[in-house]
């Protein structure tokens, strides 16, 4: 299990974060939870993280702010953004990005697995190329 990719989950709602961690762990990935994007950035777990799942609306840095930070700081970590309010504005912003995948809440196992696999495979390709 130690070689399983680590998924970092960022949501400022403790309950949602916990539930998402449990779900991702139930399919065999390791997870680390963070209550804010700032907490993640200031942690030393960035390099361990194979994929990020983050909420869009958070006090402080938003999911999109985190996305921009990752690009600026050259961290090629794929990002799955979750939002309870999939507005056109958010969709347009996400569609312009190469690294972010915007998904609406609530998200079930099936859809999350598709996203995760796509993200992790993308990373494999990126690393290989």
């Amino acid at each position: 299990m130690s070689d399983a990719p680590t998924i970092s989950i960022i949501d400022d709602d403790e309950f949602v974060r916990d539930a998402l961690q449990t779900l991702v762990e139930s399919v065999g990935y390791a997870t680390i939870g963070f209550s804010s994007a700032e907490e993640f950035i200031n942690s030393n777990r960035i390099c361990d993280t194979s994929c990020l799942i983050a909420d869009v609306q958070m006090s402080g840095m938003s999911g999109f702010d985190l996305h921009d930070w990752l690009i600026r700081n050259l961290h090629p970590i794929p990002l799955i953004l979750l939002t309870g309010l999939p507005t056109e504005r958010f969709k347009a912003r996400a569609s312009k990005s190469i690294a972010a995948d915007l998904q609406s809440k609530p998200i079930g196992l099936e859809r999350l697995m598709v996203c995760l696999e796509r993200a992790l495979n993308g990373l494999v390709k990126q690393a290989a190329g």
Partner: protein, 575 residues
């Protein structure tokens, strides 16, 4: 030592005091200088116009047929207000004396006339001040009628003095009543022809007209002047009685309809003044030598009255209509904005509710899918499946709590506003959140005004607002160092009718670009139970007849300020 300090202090004070006295002295001297200047200006104008008027005297009593000088003194006094009283009266006196002495009047008659003329302006202006207060304007019908009434009363009183003066020093053959009547007509017409221009100029200085209005009005006035030149140059024919009206009325109507009253007054003044001097110098239609002088004078007086009254009334009516139209446009815009706000509020509320419900739903879906996964594993991980299912249950309860919160907030029409203490609510909520603050290392500083009166409102709603603001502040500070996290809550009397609550945090603050939109746009915080968007907080405060605003504070953080009425609160939320 103390004495020395005292002495120095005293010296300083007296030096300071003398400087103040000097300033006051300068101020007074300046005022006197300006006043004397005003008296000289009014006096000169009065003198010149009076000399013109004395060119045509009523036979046989010798009263001037027209007295526009009365309009100068009354108009300046109404325009400048009661401060100018003494100097304008002085101006009327120093204008009257040389004008009369240069004529056939003796000294004593001149003195009586000077006092009568000064008194006339004082009475007319005092009546306007009493009826309409300061800042008199001719943009309302009742103001125009008021001016005409004052212009009748002032000369009626001063006419008594004038008639006595003539009786005593000129011993005319006509009865005193005739002299009084001539004086009255000549001064009243003078006031209504001249004073409106001066009053209008003062109003235009207070509120300058637009460039386009100035341009158009001066153009029409120039046209009017040209038209009058044309009329004067026409040969004297019977058909000519109709021509001036046909040519001049459209111009005056144009001014009345499109410009403010000062320009109409200027147009009417030009017409009246032209009539006066053509009668005096025997030029054109009004100087027609084939008519008896008394007929010409009577005709001119009737036309001056009709032109002044008609055009000023028209101008006032048009002005009232323009004002009403402007108010209508303004209130329509307000109404539209109000409606848009309501829509935005409704959208924000729908979005906030959707967001709040999706949080527990996300938990339910994720946890139940995880539970299925743990149960389907070989061997099944029963322990983790059980924990995941417990989370499903608690997320379901959370969604239920949220809906309960909604019901409390929007009410079912039975809850009533009650007297609540804002300080008490703040203390309760701070108490209930103290563990939260401790966990995040937030220092709470309260500065609650004692003896703050109760307000009328809905306790649970106000609790929600306070909770929301405190949680917002708490979460906003999560990105800064623990030792710098400070929450300040302050309550104050704002004035006799309102109190204010200010919630400041030392967080990163709200960007200027977001300040205006945080209440409209979807902007929320997440926490257990019911979380309210700021849009809903603002709606609650507005339903209480207050307002909720956000700004950046001196600590670099966000500052939220609630203003609530102390006595009355609306009952809209129960309607």
């Amino acid at each position: 030592m103390r004495d020395i300090t005292h002495a120095i202090g005293g010296a300083y004070l007296s030096a300071h005091g003398s400087r103040r006295w000097r300033q006051l002295g300068l101020h007074l001297a300046y005022n006197w200088l300006a006043g004397i200047g005003l008296a000289i200006a009014v006096g000169s104008a009065y003198f010149l116009v009076a000399r013109l008027s004395l060119g045509l005297l009523m036979k046989p009593d010798g009263v001037a047929v027209f007295w526009p000088a009365a309009g100068i003194s009354s108009g300046v006094l109404i325009a400048l207000g009661s401060r100018a009283r003494a100097f304008v009266a002085l101006g009327a006196v120093i204008g009257t004396i040389p004008a009369n002495l240069l004529g056939d009047r003796d000294f004593w008659a001149t003195a009586v006339f000077a006092l009568s003329n000064a008194g006339e302006a004082l009475i007319t202006a005092a009546l306007i001040q009493r009826w309409f207060g300061a800042g008199f304007n001719l943009n309302r019908l009742r103001n125009v009628l008021g001016l005409f009434a004052a212009a009748a009363v002032g000369p009626a009183v001063s006419g008594i003095g004038g008639a006595i003066g003539y009786k005593l020093f000129h011993s005319p053959t006509v009865p005193m009543l005739t002299t009084w009547l001539h004086w009255f007509i000549s001064d009243t017409l003078g006031i209504i022809a001249v004073a409106p221009v001066l009053i209008g100029v003062a109003a235009a200085v207070r509120e300058p007209p637009r460039r386009s209005e100035l341009f158009e009005s001066f153009l029409v006035l120039a046209l009017l002047a040209a038209m009058m030149g044309f009329i004067i140059s026409l040969p004297v024919e019977p058909w000519q009685t109709i021509v001036p009206g046909a040519l001049l009325f459209p111009m005056l109507l144009w001014l009345a309809a499109r410009s403010r009253p000062v320009f109409t007054a200027a147009g009417a003044f030009m017409v009246c003044f032209t009539i006066v001097w053509t009668v005096i110098f025997g030029i054109g239609h009004f100087g027609d030598p084939s008519l008896a002088m008394s007929d010409r004078i009577f005709q001119a007086q009737a036309i001056i009255l009709a032109v002044a009254l008609g055009s000023l009334v028209l101008a006032a009516l048009f002005s009232e209509r323009r004002d009403a139209e402007e108010r209508l446009v303004h209130s329509n815009a307000l109404l539209k904005r109000e409606r848009d706000n309501k829509l935005t509020n409704a959208q924000a509320i729908a979005a906030a509710i959707a967001h709040e419900l999706k949080q527990p739903l996300t938990g339910i879906v994720a946890s139940s899918d995880a539970a299925q996964r743990f149960l389907g594993a070989i061997p099944p991980n029963l322990e983790r499946a059980r924990t995941a299912l417990e989370k499903v249950a608690s997320a379901g309860c959370r969604a239920g709590d949220m809906l309960d919160g909604l019901r409390t907030m929007f009410g079912n029409g039975t809850q009533e506003a009650q007297l609540v203490s804002v300080n008490e609510i703040i203390q309760e909520i701070l108490h209930s959140l103290q563990n939260e603050f401790k966990k995040h290392g937030v220092a709470v500083h309260t500065d609650l005004r004692t003896l703050l009166p109760d307000i009328r409102g809905y306790r649970s709603q106000l609790q929600e607002v306070m909770t929301n603001l405190f949680i917002n502040a708490n979460e906003a500070m999560s990105s800064i160092a623990r030792q710098n996290r400070l929450l300040c809550v302050q309550t104050r009397f704002r004035d006799a009718e309102t109190l204010s609550v200010t919630v400041d945090d030392s967080g990163p603050g709200i960007g200027a670009d977001r300040l205006s939109s945080i209440f409209n746009a979807f902007f929320t915080t997440k926490r257990h139970g019911m979380g309210l968007g700021l849009a809903i907080c603002r709606m609650i405060i507005e339903q209480h007849g207050g307002e909720l605003t956000a700004s950046s504070n001196g600590m670099g953080g966000a500052s939220f300020r609630i203003v609530l009425p102390i006595v009355a609160a609306t009952s809209e939320s129960t309607a």
